[in-house]
Symmetry: C2
Subunit: 492 residues, 2 copies
């Protein structure tokens, strides 16, 4: 695979190029830097000593060389597109044009080692006017409203051809396909969020309804709005609604699609890592009501789910980690993918090979568990690993669910290790990995408040015991009846 | 079976007794009239010529004779309970006390042939004071807020022992049980209407929520109220909500139960004939939204349905007929129960044997059709017999759905007879029976309006054809593609 990035100075070719190289296991080449290395002098000096013409010659030579290489992502020089021969070469390649309006570029760049800007940043506007016709010949990505991860995600998605990672047939069809997100174009109607539209709007069909991001969408009011719109467009039972977004959006879409006309077609394109590894499989949907989470919903398997790990690249840091925690839980439960967590830096850099494997394992294992317990009668309870204490952290510390669960896993394991139930090596491995995924240390919480929280939980009667799932060794899940108050020993 | 009715003059013993005799195929005996017949003179004359003591003697003799008879319903004389020996006899029998406060009784009675009222109606209060302690020894039915059919229903239900008529196992458990309604006592939570509570409140468990009667309940607002209450009582997934009422109430209950916590237990006790023969089987539920009927709902089979034809006795005339039309449709479709419609006077008098058979056939046939087409993909379409033109009558004439369907069946049959598709004898039989069930003649409607109605129906594209279910001979359903506008020939 070869990816070429073109665009003005300050458009982010180098920054994005480096990220892409880590994401796709490609070598990163910055053409200007490569020329500097070969010439043993800076671009500014080449311009001063041999003139721009000489530089452009070297640039063309290098480009000709690079289009013969494999596994590279190239940040081209900003002026490479001026030459018609260069453009012909680049058009045969996966070349993306990173666009930002001149005002934005001026904010981003420094003049250092930019010979063309020796007269000041204002020249950007002039340069842009000269070159814009040439850039226009390439696929454009507007970076002005996107952050670096969002831009990276979009470039990778544009560059990727479809590559199937896994197909799960039961309990419902799930296809994990790198680049598969682009199939959303063919959907009859999409429910999605403003955030998804901002980044991936180019792939969405015209027929789309926008809803708020996050848990906010899961109300009867938004469900009503969806019903109104569906009635207005006379949406028939035979057609499909595609839910494109995180777990909240797919939960919401699943509920609407399962109740409108007693069920219309339903598909998911989960866009967050957490939704991909968890919410998109199993047919549970829900909305919140009167302050109670997920209290209204149905069981309704989607007709199909398209999971493209590429789109998780655009996630914010904290939310990405939550997904990793969920995948980590599935690895502990199943024993599969242990080796993925030996490369924490690959996870941090969002390497797509590692992410794809993580998603594949989690989805396959989730599907297996759901198949054995489709209506959530018992076995699915294993998925509550870490949730008993996690709940306490979530409530008392106000941390996101994923972080709280990671802490819960760590602390519950500690408790069972002290009890002599979990062996030392299992405990040490889990504690070490949790610290890598969630580097924030587990806080101690006010035991008295935690005690009250547990005692007031209507599901736990005073003195009664909870069924705690735990891991004897990685991949071997067991259950233990414990007094929840005893568990609090370890949170202090 | 023997039923004895006790109560003050004017409490309705004779009126209700006669109805019960028709409902249960019992001989009706009015004790006062029987004594008059045997003595060859009126009660007033017996009092005048031989005194009250002589009358009471004859009354006791007759009572002793009646408690040895079978298949009778007896309206006792108002004063029969004064004698302790009489009371002992009656307590061993199915004896119901029809109660109404003295003011109500005074409005109801005339003084004619009532020797005890020779001094005027005001004596009722005095008599009541003397006798009320004796009446109190019997099971009391307060008739003051009930009409005659409602009282009849309640007396029959009180008197009946359970008698199983049919058990259908699939697609979900349905038990048709005379007297089975009383099982509702054991339900964990009941959703019902004020009308049901007014009549059958004595059988409902404490834990009940009241909702409006009829279609009015099928809104998201009432669904919200139900969710609130369920959350307030912390209703768990393992428990069951029983929907007790007509089709609207069971539709509503089904939707709430299938969506609260992704599905709690669900049972139905349908109380209208239409709900018994139609809505209670098949797992379709729905609410209305934005003026569109049944546009939101799920498929969710109830865990069990208890159908007691007895409770349909309390229905208003028009609504009862709607249920008969539906049963008639099932007879046409299946060919079963043709003989029931040879006794129209039995249907009119609500004979429970005929009603039970009608309900049994309809439910069994509905269950059979649903089993073959659980998600309403084709075969269930046969149930739309009469609905194409019925819809036109319903919209343009504003008649209830059941009446409109009856007319639709008649007129669609006429059309197909004229086309030479339905044979004359089938047509004649259907037309004759429809006239018996719904004696109101089919109105002609404005063809131009009907044409517009059909053309604006989004489901019927201009010039396209509808799939019309029709009956070649009774029990043999076929389908014909017709131009809906052609159908209008017969409505003129």
């Amino acid at each position: 695979m070869r990816i070429f990035l073109v665009g003005m100075m300050g458009s982010g070719k180098s920054t994005i190029g480096k990220r892409i190289s880590e994401v796709l296991d490609l070598q990163f080449i910055d053409m200007d830097e490569e020329i500097e290395r070969r010439e043993g002098r800076s671009v500014r000096r080449i311009f001063e000593e041999d003139g721009e013409e000489y530089f452009r010659l070297k640039e063309k030579e290098l480009l000709k060389e690079l289009v013969e290489r494999d596994n590279v992502v190239v940040a081209t020089g900003g002026g490479v597109v001026v030459d018609p021969e260069n453009r012909e070469l680049l058009k045969k390649e996966k070349t993306l044009f990173l666009y930002a309006p001149p005002e934005v570029l001026m904010e981003r760049v420094t003049t250092e080692n930019r010979p063309l800007l020796s007269e000041g940043k204002e020249r950007i506007r002039e340069i842009w006017e000269k070159r814009k016709q040439f850039y226009a010949e390439f696929r454009r990505i507007d970076t002005s409203r996107l952050n670096e991860w969002e831009t990276t995600a979009l470039v990778v998605l544009e560059a990727l051809d479809e590559k199937e990672i896994s197909t799960i047939e039961k309990p419902h069809l799930v296809k994990i396909i790198l680049g598969g997100f682009k199939r959303v174009r063919n959907e009859e109607l999409v429910f999605t969020t403003e955030r998804v539209e901002k980044i991936y709007g180019r792939y969405l069909p015209e027929n789309r309804l926008l809803f708020p991001d996050g848990e906010e969408v899961k109300t009867l009011e938004h469900v009503s709005r969806a019903y109104y719109e569906l009635i207005r467009m006379d949406f028939p039972r035979g057609k499909t609604i595609a839910g494109v977004g995180g777990g909240a959006l797919t939960d919401f879409t699943g509920f609407v699609a399962s109740t409108f006309k007693r069920g219309v077609g339903l598909s998911f394109y989960p866009t967050t890592l957490l939704a991909q590894v968890d919410a998109s499989v199993g047919g549970k949907n829900a909305i919140d009501f009167a302050g109670v989470k997920n209290v209204v919903g149905t069981f309704r398997m989607p007709d199909y789910v398209i999971i493209d790990p590429t789109v998780t690249l655009s996630m914010d840091e904290g939310r990405f980690e939550e997904g990793v925690v969920e995948a980590f839980k599935m690895t502990i439960l199943s024993g599969r993918g242990v080796e993925l967590f030996d490369e924490p830096e690959k996870i941090e850099k969002r390497n797509l090979r590692v992410l794809s494997e993580m998603v594949k394992i989690s989805v396959e294992e989730k599907a297996r568990i759901v198949m054995e317990d489709p209506y959530d009668m018992g076995l699915r309870h294993a998925l509550n690993l870490g949730h008993t204490l996690g709940h306490v952290y979530e409530m008392l510390e106000g941390v996101p669910h994923g972080i709280a669960v990671a802490w819960g896993i760590e602390k519950e394991t500690m408790y069972l290790y002290r009890k002599g139930i979990v062996p030392k090596e299992t405990m040490r491995w889990i504690v070490e990995k949790v610290k890598q995924i969630v580097p924030i240390p587990v806080p101690s919480v006010d035991v008295e408040k935690a005690r009250n929280l547990i005692l007031n939980d209507k599901k736990i009667l005073k003195g009664s015991r909870v069924r705690l799932p735990y891991v004897k060794e990685i991949g071997k899940i067991e259950f233990l009846e414990v007094d929840p108050l005893e568990l609090l020993e370890v949170v202090d």
